[in-house]
């Protein structure tokens, strides 16, 4: 049972981690919590599901389109909801983010209706049984895909010119400008990447839970926010660690206590972190 819950937790945790990366990167560069991250996750899932439902697109294309649309939505959001507020009191963009979140949820509700859509493609996934632990190949695939995306992100941040420029902007905006780095462009790039990752998470969870609906981003968004805080907001490895830990804690809690407490666990952790170690496990702007 322990290992079973561990695998389940890592699967959902990898989705939290991908969304948390969006939160943490955007916080790192703008000092802003983008509460619309969950809606970007929802957007990725919807685009992929709607495209697949037409029956004309293959899975890979739909996945890429979902990620791409989420990325685009993130960039547009930054442009209309956050950039005009640069330099305003920190509460102002926060309110703008919550507004954007409500707007996008309502828009999805109008466009797609409140009903849950099952994932249009059925995958025949084998299950592997090790002892009494049942691992579905779907879980394996989700974990693997998430880990690959995270590894790509970390490589990008550490070893590419633009990755380092993003870190430089997060550390010291004025000095970054003195190097000839266009901060606005780096902020847009951060939104692009963070949102693409959230979009990917949305598609994965749409498959995993076989459910896509306008409010699907609400809870994962809030949990990923907790995960980002748990790992140390602004810290990239921290967001990954926080996401996975949160997923596992939630899953173990659901298994050993009661599944009714599942959603509460993330927020209990959030409260405990804020009380005991508000800077998170790995503090500061790491990458």
């Amino acid at each position: 049972m322990f290992f079973q819950q561990l695998i389940n937790g890592l699967t959902t945790g990898s989705a939290y981690a991908l969304i948390a990366l969006g939160y943490t990167m955007i916080y790192g560069i703008l000092g802003l919590i983008n509460f619309a991250q969950g809606e970007i996750y929802m957007c990725g899932a919807f685009v992929a599901v709607l495209l697949l439902a037409t029956g004309k697109v293959n899975f890979i294309t739909a996945f890429a389109a979902g990620m791409g649309s989420a990325a685009l939505l993130g960039v547009v959001l930054e442009r209309v909801a956050f950039r005009p507020l640069r330099g305003a009191h920190p509460l102002v963009p926060l309110i703008s983010a919550i507004g954007a979140s409500i707007f996008l949820q309502s828009l999805a509700l109008l466009l797609f209706g409140p009903n849950n859509r099952p994932f249009p493609v059925q995958f025949e996934f084998h299950t592997i049984t090790v002892g009494d632990v049942v691992i579905s190949a779907l879980q394996g695939a989700i974990l693997l895909a998430a880990l690959i995306l995270m590894a790509l992100l970390m490589l990008f941040v550490r070893y590419t010119r633009y990755g380092k420029a993003i870190v430089a902007c997060a550390l010291d905006r004025d000095t970054a400008r003195l190097m000839g780095i266009n901060v606005d462009r780096m902020v847009a790039l951060t939104f692009l990447i963070g949102s693409a990752l959230s979009g990917a998470a949305g598609i994965m969870m749409a498959i995993y839970y076989n459910a896509t609906y306008p409010r699907m981003g609400l809870l994962p968004g809030l949990k990923a926010f907790s995960a980002a805080i748990l790992g140390g907001v602004g810290n990239i490895p921290g967001a990954i660690l926080g996401g996975l830990l949160l997923g596992v804690a939630e899953s173990l809690g659901a298994g050993y206590l009661s599944s009714g407490y599942k959603d509460a666990i993330a927020f209990v952790i959030l409260i405990l972190v804020l009380l005991i170690r508000p800077q998170g496990i790995l503090k500061g702007k790491g990458h």
């Binding site: 430089a168 004025d174 400008r177 003195l178 780095i181």
Partner: protein, 241 residues
């Protein structure tokens, strides 16, 4: 090369520069000396585009910089070593140096320049893969200078490179500046440490509460009685002496 004409600038509505005029010719080392809050750093921030200019003009090789963003100014060939070094603490020494050349697109030459900077400052080669934040203050200052050189500047601006450094490190930083001068680098040096700055510079300006109050060849400024009293500590006596 660089000409400021009655530049006015400030923070919010508070004026700090009340009409600064100065010039730097190619190959010259010019120092801008003044106390705390005189407007030295503000002048450099205004030149580099970090601070909007209210009035007056900043001309660099015939181009008006007054409306340019910092990204564009550095592309014109002005690099600033900011006050307090401001290295990117969690990035490696190498990454810091590479970022100095961010606006350049001549990849091969950048790689050669990186080698050259590390040749010039061997400490940066030894620490190439260390996070910049783990370096000592003096080493960070050397890194900040190296990073600015990576921009291949036509004019190098330094904001108080001796600030907060041990005397031995100050000497080392000034040795570096002397070497840069000997290589023909054009330098605009802002300093509180008037003695060291005037020894290095060809010409100097003294700034007080946002205005230039004194200017001339460095040797003359060193002899100026007003200068000696106010900035070089000559004839200083406690009131009871």
């Amino acid at each position: 090369m660089l000409t400021l004409k009655s530049v006015q600038a400030g923070y919010g509505r508070l004026p700090v520069l009340k009409g600064i005029s100065l010039h730097v010719r190619a190959g010259e080392v010019v120092t801008l000396i003044g106390g705390n809050g005189a407007g030295k750093s503000t002048t450099l921030r205004a030149i580099s585009g970090l601070l909007p200019i209210w009035r007056g003009s900043v001309e660099f090789n015939g181009l008006n910089l007054a409306r340019l963003t910092p990204e564009k100014v550095v592309a014109q060939g002005l690099a600033l070593v900011p006050e307090g070094r401001r290295v990117f603490a969690t990035l490696s020494v190498n990454a810091n140096l590479e970022l100095g050349a961010f606006h350049r697109h001549d990849k091969k030459q950048v790689r050669r320049d990186l080698e050259e900077v590390k040749e010039r400052f061997p400490i940066l080669r030894d620490r190439a893969h260390q996070a910049a934040g783990t370096l000592s203050g003096g080493e960070q200052q050397i890194l900040a200078i190296g990073r600015a050189l990576m921009a291949r500047p036509k004019l190098l601006m330094l904001d108080e490179p001796s600030m907060g450094l041990a005397p031995r490190m100050v000497a080392q930083v000034y040795a570096i500046l002397r070497k840069l001068k000997a290589d023909g680098t054009t330098i605009l040096l802002v300093e509180q440490n008037a003695r060291a700055a005037l020894k290095l510079a060809d010409r100097g300006y003294v700034i007080e509460t946002g205005r230039i109050i004194l200017q001339g060849p460095a040797a003359e400024l060193q002899e100026d009685p007003e200068m000696q009293r106010a900035y070089l500590g000559k004839g200083y006596r406690e009131v009871w002496e």
